[in-house]
Symmetry: C2
């Protein structure tokens, strides 16, 4: 496995499906060109290969430990982090004048793909830092920005998001961490947080926790939550880290996978001396945090797609190399053994991985492009349109790749058979690492509820209408064999539209069925979106084939067409089950009584 | 979690669905009664709880190590193994006069369920010993039997099955291990085997490897394979273990799960002095081994169902206990928090686990009953009928529970959310342990081929005809609400029957489509079988409800009915996809070219 990600795949997604080059016509990106994008991809590939992939298995096997009052981890993690920050990736999206590289989200996403494929655990530290910096940049006072942003962008400080509390889990309405106003410019924070990724380590000079807490007298529920910057070390007048703030590590949490990223239980204000600095306005914390959360959700989905894709590539290499059994049409013991990739069931296991992970990847790139469009399209209405569509797609971009990326890793293990079940081969780690993704940044159950109860309906279903228009445009422009695929996808879209009134009715009448069947909404909608992504890839592949000069290798594009046939012929029909459940407002789950289990 | 398996569940399966009590009318079991069966279950539950569950996590965390020339493991493993063997479980199925307990397979299966739920890795050692002893008992000479059987039944010796070789994997036709005839009564064995479970340890005085090897001049392929007993220590004249045989541990294999069971690479005849003793006739080894393999396949399926069921029980207990969020009809922050079991999506995650694992359990018990029937029914034709049906069902009993048991464990993690992803909670181990089951004893791909190319057709599809008759009988006797469930299941059975000619045609014309789509055959057939199992459970539940005295707790039976509705309404329709693939002899997988990936 020389290549972490075949460059042809990334370039196909960026330039043949998405026309990323057109971004260079926009004001913000006019200093850029396909060449500068390629240079960034080269840098990402090199650092990911040399400084991230090198210790992916190692920092899984020798996970961080808490001893002697500090968290120690393999030195390769810091070397990787340093290479990443020194190359400027943390601030890759930021303005030139902020010290950033002013790169499009689409390109930064492609770069991040190398790191996620190479070592998702080490990638966690800088990714969280970027996300935390974005919140400070968007909502904090100029003073806070000046104090924290430059050092976060350089990677001198790292960031975390500290939302979850032990007693409340996904229920942010119930957080109990308190913020007590003082005479000074700080609040005193007191409470406990759990599952805080990157909450303790020695990679950086300081750790900047973004903490959700309640002020005295705040309204109950999510409307009474404020957001605070809580540094591990308070800053001196010169901006350098000074005395220890009252944040303590209650313990490291030992995970199934993603072991290289510390997961921590943190206590704020054990000695009633934890300083926190309010971000923006009181009681607006959840709204601010949701900017970070939405970005993180896109990141989780893409990471899941890339871990899934990495497993696919690893199992593909194994299947090409490993000889076992005979060809179906030469089955005698005296016939030669063949590579297992020639066996029909192995082709199925590989095709499913390809269809899920490249489909998920295309969906995530589509989302990244919407981020760019919502910020940089010249027309303001068009920006708003992109934002509305992104809002609708976010729960699916988080949940669908995380479910099917993990399933892809399951199939990668199966391709390797007994070898895949051993820790001597890397696919089992992919599976364990990826299993986090359906859980964090809002479980997939939460995503399904977000889609079912909010995103499909908000602003009179404007996001959905925009989507329908875009899909219909692509259906209409499909020709040749993709026309048939477009018709199939269109039928499922119609069927989905047909069950929406019933879901809406359930929600309005406040019956529990739609909530209990929310996973079917997510699955049906997700499959239709990914079928659309395959249609777009198939269309791009047909164009490439039509224009291919005599003798050019066309296998890549033929594979795209076959995977599109696979997804639309083998995977998409599964959602008929979900559509039927939704259409009849099935009550089986909702009416299951607790004591019947 | 006081109970490993709620006794009501086992008794329902044994006595309300299966009428296990009627076995006591048979000659072989006439010394037994429901009371003696219950006593065995009590013993199994006690030992499993006290001596197996106690170190399930421990021997996963501290897996066996090879040091100082021997394999060391936690002492609790030996204590568990000793308790198991001292209670007579290894020979539980054997004749009284052989020192056995002459218990039915059905009851022994139920007993084994406790051990699989408690600690599948430690259970591996005695289970493999029973399976190896069975082969020796069925096929070996009287001398070999006398030398090995009593010591294996007492657990003084343990057994293994040594089939797989590093270069050949699933392709047994290609094994290279050689057996050279000598002047004496032994052969000299030379070769390498891999993934040999229980291949090295200090639990017993001797390890009896059943080794597949080729004699000189043997025909190529599977028709030239012979079976040998190869002990770790050769036996002295008095039958006690004597000098070390030339079998060496090349290395321990480090697995994703099932870590407490050593997985070994073994070398036979490094010094050209490995004695092996031929079992039965030359070149009949694979046939003999298949007896062991078929038993092992039933065991793998049931183990997968039980690990799946254990995860269900653990996540159910968590969901009852853990409060988070609000009820759908009292969603205000000032409303009380509710246990997560009240949330619709959590009910779905629990119902799916219940439907898969209790359905799989019922299928495995049905298979166990067929084992009993094939050996002990008074009528010889009826025995043969049971045997034919068992033959047909074996690949499904192995594959379906191993696929859906593992999926159930995935959902158990999801119920626990962040907690489920940590090693502080036990569900992630269930998931890792269970992931072996779709791989060993013939991958699920191999099972799908066995079903598609052989089992559905052998003896003019006699097994299938027997099955159809039995299913139709159950459909016809369904009444009340189960009538509706029977009609649905019957429709899918008809649809499956309708695609069989097309599969047969593909196979006869030697086109690759049927082979490439074999997983769809397995899934469609498996789902129909499990739907039938749910119909049988629903019928038993309805009977119990009709006869329940006023005031008796009926929640258990209502849960069975709801799970039947769930399986037949939510899961069974998924196979329409597979039926369509088979009906059109879909060519997408088969025609995927290697270089298109």
């Amino acid at each position: 496995m020389n290549e972490l990600i075949p460059r042809q795949e990334l370039e196909f997604q960026l330039y043949e499906v998405l026309d990323t080059q057109s971004l260079c016509e926009r004001l913000r990106f006019r200093e850029h060109s396909r060449e500068t994008f390629s240079a960034m991809l080269d840098t990402a590939e090199r650092i990911a290969t040399d400084r991230f992939a090198n210790h992916n298995a190692l920092s899984d096997r020798e996970e961080p430990v808490f001893e002697g009052g500090k968290v120690s981890m393999r030195p390769e993690v810091k070397a990787g982090f340093d290479a990443y920050r020194e190359a400027g990736f943390i601030g890759g999206r930021y303005d030139f004048e902020e010290g950033g590289l002013q790169l499009p989200e689409t390109v930064m996403t492609a770069c991040s793909g190398y790191f996620m494929a190479a070592n998702p655990a080490t990638a966690g530290y800088p990714f969280l830092t970027t996300a935390a910096a974005n919140v400070i940049r968007s909502f904090a006072s100029e003073d806070l920005k000046a104090a924290y942003l430059p050092r976060m962008l350089s990677g001198a400080f790292t960031g975390t998001m500290a939302l979850t509390e032990p007693h409340a889990g996904s229920g942010l309405a119930d957080i109990r961490t308190r913020a007590l106003a003082t005479e000074g410019n700080h609040y005193l924070i007191k409470g406990s947080k759990i599952y805080i990724s990157g909450g303790e380590h020695e990679l950086s000079e300081n750790i900047v926790h973004l903490v959700l807490a309640r002020m005295e007298g705040a309204p109950p529920g999510v409307k009474g939550i404020s957001l605070f910057v809580v540094p591990r070390y308070r800053l001196r007048a010169n901006g350098e880290p000074g005395e220890r703030n009252d944040v303590t590590l209650a313990g490291l949490i030992h995970k199934l996978g993603y072991r290289g990223t510390t997961s921590t239980a943190l206590t704020f204000g054990d000695n009633d001396d934890c300083h926190g600095y309010l971000v923006g306005e009181p009681h607006q914390g959840l709204r601010y945090m949701f900017q970070m959360m939405n970005e993180a959700r896109l990141g989780v989905g893409f990471g899941a797609a890339m871990i899934g894709y990495r497993g696919y590539q690893l199992s593909l290499a194994y299947a090409r190399d490993r000889k076992q059994g005979r060809a179906w049409n030469a089955p005698q013991p005296t016939d030669p053994m063949v590579p297992i990739i020639q066996h029909g069931d192995i082709k199925r296991l590989l095709l499913a991985q390809k269809a899920w992970t490249e489909g998920a990847m295309a969906l995530c790139f589509y989302g990244a492009r919407l981020v760019d469009d919502s910020h940089t399209l010249p027309d303001l209405d068009a920006r708003e349109e992109a934002g509305e569509l992104l809002d609708l797609l976010t729960p699916v971009i988080k949940a669908w790749p995380s479910e099917y990326g993990t399933r892809a890793n399951d199939l990668a293990i199966q391709v390797l058979g007994g070898a895949g079940y051993t820790r001597e081969y890397p696919v089992e780690q992919c599976w364990r690492d990826n299993r986090l993704n359906p859980i964090h940044e809002g479980t997939n159950g939460i995503q399904a509820l977000d889609l079912t109860t909010r995103k499909l309906w908000q602003k009179h279903s404007r996001g959905l209408q925009i989507l329908q228009q875009r899909m219909l445009r692509d259906f209409q422009s499909a020709s040749g064999e993709t026309r048939e695929l477009a018709i199939r996808t269109g039928e499922y879209l119609k069927a989905f539209e047909a069950v929406l009134p019933r879901i809406g009715q359930d929600l309005q009448q406040q019956t529990p069925n739609a909530l209990a069947n929310a996973h079917s909404v997510l699955t049906a909608f997700g499959h239709i979106l990914v079928a659309w992504m395959w249609l777009r890839q198939a269309t791009a592949a047909e164009t490439a084939l039509a224009n291919a000069p005599e003798g050019k290798r066309t296998a890549f594009y033929r594979g795209k067409l076959q995977a599109a046939r696979y997804f639309i012929g083998h995977e998409l029909p599964l959602i008929q089950r979900d559509l039927d459940i939704l259409g009849r407002s099935d009550a089986v789950c909702a009416s299951m009584s607790e004591d019947w289990f």
